[in-house]
């Protein structure tokens, strides 16, 4: 079995995995970081979104081996200690969740979205960008509100440039 090494949430990890091991299984089963969820198994629902080298990526259709040497951030790595990331805070504050299963993926996609758009996000862009993340409680209204608020908070706190 090949050995893979990567940085996950700032910590160096390495393990022997089968070549076909998916990144999501590596994260959930080997590292026991279970905030990254599997919803559809086929990279459509977005519950499994993580950041790989700063870009959002669906971990259910990525091989762990592809991430050799990469820096991976999961939902667990977003907060700084007890301080929630502004986007996490915005979802919490704006009731941007119901059953919560899609929430980690939504937040990871949202942070990526803000960074790519330099913090300038209008509602239409958010809705369009969010098409790869499904929410079946269909709480999209508050999710979009939360992302707009989170985007503003990230911009004003200087997090867009910093990350």
């Amino acid at each position: 079995m090949p050995k893979v090494s990567m940085t996950v949430n700032g910590q160096a990890v390495s393990a022997d995995v089968e070549a076909r091991t998916l990144l999501v299984d590596f994260i959930r089963e080997q590292l026991r970081l279970t905030g990254t969820h599997v919803g559809c198994d086929t990279s459509q629902c977005g519950a499994c979104v993580v950041h790989v080298d700063g870009r959002a990526l669906k971990s259910c259709t990525t091989l762990a081996a592809q991430c050799e040497g990469a820096s991976v951030t999961t939902i667990e790595g977003l907060a700084k200690g007890d301080d929630l990331h502004p986007m996490q805070e915005a979802f919490r504050e704006n009731h941007g969740l119901q059953c919560g299963f899609c929430t980690p993926g939504m937040i990871m996609s949202a942070v990526d979205m803000v960074k790519r758009h330099g913090g300038k996000l209008d509602e239409q862009t958010i809705r369009h960008e969010l098409e790869g993340n499904l929410c079946r409680c269909t709480g999209y209204h508050n999710i979009v509100k939360a992302i707009a608020a989170g985007s503003e908070a990230m911009t004003s706190s200087g997090r867009v440039a910093a990350e």
């Binding site: 959930r28 026991r32 629902c45 969740l97 119901q98 059953c99 299963f101 969010l130 499904l134 269909t138």
Partner: protein, 782 residues
């Protein structure tokens, strides 16, 4: 007002402190901080005990036929496989019907009845190994002709149970004598739940052969019972527990039992913990959905559009087994009147047994199909008479002297006219009606439509015995509170609302109340969290439990501080005895030292309800929840594409316990209903295989499908019945608000057709269905 046998001395509407601190505020979901940080655990996230095996399903390759060959040798010898389990390995009963129908095997034994039916399971060291091994089986099914549609089942007289009709007056005669009549066929599609967390269960063997099951279910007591049945154990040997679900929507009521039962069976056979998480495709193929139906309707009406008679027959596709279909389809009949008084009415239901997955509960529980049918009839009549559909609907609503339902229940709390008028005003309906007419006059291809439809939804389980709930509350010596009840959390905010009620009962901060996982070991014999009744039942039971402890503390304080109960108030984490204030935790400690019990159960049953199914008469509902919505759509008549431009909703939640949670339920319910009626289409092929078994082919709404302008207003009013603090149930009713989208599409197409041409718009109104309807009315133009 207080003092009913159900609530004892408690007044359901009023708190003893005279004010509410947590209740009525928009408290955040209790798990919000955990959800945003990935710390909220679902079944598949909980750490597995060492040695846990993973399960995969071996499924039927055909829709119907005898099992003539089952070769599992290659499965058994595949790498990582520990056990292969078939029906022959079941120590108890191979039967999991939630209603004791005897037609729901855990594993197919001698025959298969739908494509994808579980035939065997594999337990292996890894999920991957189990899934690979399951594919190595050879399952040979003998030739048989499957019944795949309600029409085929009707021709073969294949039913799960006898027809059930709710009839008032003489619809046949009234149709004959009516000034005008119309009739038609209206196909209504089903709906996949697509809870984002798929079905999952972890079974862990205990001493004495007992079994513990962690499950994602709305009905832990049913899971407990099924596991006991399958393993041949008494119910007390099984514990089932659920902290939260990643969505339920009715799909984890009866449908969770099979997967928990299979995990428990594998755990029994192997002696090791076993986990089953269904792959999404398997989940969609193997679990039941909302019933698709065919509605055959006839209506008689006068020249003003007043309905004199309606006779609607629903052919419901129940699938291969009974499951909850009888109750579901009863509710179709209950809601065929929606908010309208029809003097002569028949809602007839036929429950077709087909060789498809067994359809089940889904938010609205049969009600949406009944309502959609009568609203479709309203649209057809309005079009035929050239009457504004809103005016036609207003005329036909329940009102004074026309306020009794076809099943004999008085609509005592009718606010439908008020809610409709408010929706008309807030949406600017009249002005927009004119603007849309102008738009359509100038745009032959992009046509707009507008519609307002009402909702009147009966609250209570129609199986009267289910309207009961239990709770268990402990107060510890530091003043912290442990809360448990029979309701389950699936994102609807039930746990938060119940905790708000308990906090206010003790006059303490919400963060002093610990919300705990639902488990059959703490509160037994629970009803499913379903029928929108979760808060009505469980918040009342929890309040009763908390009140018992508070009353004991009150008596103790009165005695200790030489006061009387009437002068004692619990608020702001303190207990006020006359002018003296004692910390809540201090009083609790003193009470403990004085040997006062600080734990209590609470039990609640809904008063006043009764239902005689034989006679079709009674008061099956405690009350009704109302709402209305106005939708504006644009359709492209060349492609059938649809856009929902604006939605305005007025919805009745009584006096809300938590406005933010309620509005979330309304928005989410509406969009989910919109999915059912516009984009979500289930397609089976000629062999009975579901071809839409993944989100690639089955389209649930995305964020860009949500209307650009979406205004939700809570109707401000108190529940006239004594529900918890005057609130009303909110889980299901908003789903049916989405019917206005279907009606608005109808309206857009109706503008292309003269009154004499009926509009053949099916549900869901997919682009294909819209295009079909547009083409049909253009070709039918005289």
């Amino acid at each position: 007002m207080s003092g009913s046998p159900e609530t004892g001395t408690l007044d359901p509407q009023v708190n003893t402190t005279g004010e509410l601190r947590s209740v009525r505020t928009s408290v955040r979901h209790d798990s919000a901080a955990k959800h945003v940080s990935g710390a909220a655990l679902y079944v598949d996230d909980v750490g597995e005990p060492a040695g846990t095996l993973q399960i995969a399903i071996g499924a039927s390759p055909a829709a119907k036929g005898p099992i003539v060959g089952l070769d599992l040798d290659a499965v058994r010898t595949a790498p990582g496989v520990v056990a292969v389990v078939t029906a022959a390995d079941i120590p108890g009963h191979n039967e999991i019907s939630p209603v004791g129908a005897g037609d729901d095997p855990l594993l197919a034994d001698t025959k298969v009845l739908f494509h994808g039916q579980p035939v065997f399971i594999v337990a292996a060291e890894t999920r991957e190994a189990a899934r690979r091994a399951a594919l190595l089986a050879t399952i040979r099914i003998g030739e048989a002709e499957p019944l795949l549609t309600v029409e085929a089942a009707e021709a073969a007289d294949s039913l799960i149970s006898p027809d059930f009709n709710i009839v008032r007056g003489d619809p046949g005669k009234a149709l004959e004598t009516a000034a005008n009549r119309m009739s038609g066929n209206f196909p209504i599609g089903g709906q996949e739940h697509f809870y984002l967390e798929g079905q999952a269960a972890l079974a862990i063997p205990q001493e004495d052969g007992d079994m513990f099951v962690l499950t994602s279910t709305q009905h832990p007591s049913e899971v407990q019972k099924v596991v006991a049945e399958v393993l041949g154990l008494p119910i007390n040997a099984v514990v089932s527990e659920v902290r939260r679900m990643g969505g339920g929507f009715g799909g984890k009521e009866s449908q969770a039992c099979q997967w928990a039962g299979l995990a428990a069976l594998a755990a029994r056979v192997t002696g090791r913990p076993c986990k089953l998480r269904l792959d999404r495709d398997d989940d969609m193929v193997m679990t039941g959905k909302r019933h698709d139906m065919l509605a055959r309707w006839q209506v008689g009406y006068d020249d003003d559009g007043m309905l004199e008679a309606a006779d609607i027959t629903f052919l419901a596709k129940c699938g291969f087994s009974t499951d909850l279909s009888n109750s579901v389809i009863d509710r179709t009949a209950f809601h065929t009147d929606n908010a309208y008084f029809v003097p002569h009415i028949a809602a007839r239901t036929k429950r077709m047994r087909t060789n498809t997955v067994s359809n089940t509960a889904f938010r609205g529980f049969g009600g949406p199909q009944g309502m959609l049918a009568i609203e479709h009839v309203m649209d057809q009549v309005a079009h035929r008479l050239r009457i504004d559909p809103f005016d036609l609907r207003m005329r036909n609503l329940y009102g004074p002297d026309r306020d009794v339902t076809p099943y004999g229940m008085t609509v005592f709390d009718n606010i439908a006219p008020e809610v409709m008028e408010k929706t008309e005003a807030l949406s600017g309906y009249r002005a927009r009606r004119r603007e849309i007419a102008e738009h359509n006059a100038e745009n032959p291809f992009l046509r707009k439509g507008l519609a307002i439809t009402p909702v009147k939804f009966g609250i209570s389980f129609t199986a009267t015995h289910l309207n009961q709930a239990g709770a268990l509350v402990h107060v510890y010596t530091d003043g912290s509170v442990h809360l448990n009840h029979g309701g389950t959390e699936m994102g609807q905010g039930l746990f938060t609302k119940v905790a708000q009620v308990v906090a206010d009962e003790f006059g303490i901060d919400l963060d002093k109340v610990k919300i705990t996982a639902t488990t059959t070991a703490k509160v037994p014999n629970t009803s499913p969290t379903a029928a929108s009744s979760g808060t009505d039942l469980n918040a009342m039971a929890a309040r009763i439990a908390a009140a018992r402890i508070r009353e004991r503390l009150t008596d103790f304080a009165a005695e200790t501080y030489d006061s009387v109960a009437a002068d004692i108030r619990f608020r702001d984490n303190q207990v006020f005895v006359g002018n003296r204030a004692v910390g809540f935790a201090d009083l609790v400690r003193q009470a403990y030292m004085a040997r006062i019990s600080l734990s209590s159960t609470g039990f609640y049953r809904t008063p006043k309800i009764h239902w005689d199914r034989e006679k079709g008469q009674g008061r099956p509902f405690f009350y009704f929840a109302y709402g209305a919505s106005c939708s504006e759509v644009t359709i492209d008549t060349l492609t059938g594409e649809l856009r929902v431009d604006r939605v305005d909703i007025v919805h009745d939640v009584g006096k809300s316990l938590n406005p933010a949670i309620d509005i979330g339920q309304i928005e989410g319910g509406f969009v989910q209903g919109m999915g059912w009626l516009t984009t979500e289409e289930l397609v089976w092929d000629a062999g009975g295989r579901l071809r839409t078994h993944a989100p690639s082919t089955y389209k649930i709404p995305t964020s860009s499908d949500v209307p650009a302008e979406f205004n939700v207003h809570l109707h401000d009013g108190i529940n006239r019945e004594e529900a918890i603090y005057g609130s009303k149930a909110v889980g299901e009713p908003p789903l049916m608000l989405a019917i206005s989208v279907h009606s608005a599409i109808f309206d857009a197409i109706a503008g292309l057709a003269p009154p004499v041409v009926a509009i053949p718009l099916d549900a869901p109104a997919t682009p294909e269905a819209i295009l079909r309807a547009v083409t049909a009315v253009r070709e039918a133009r005289p």
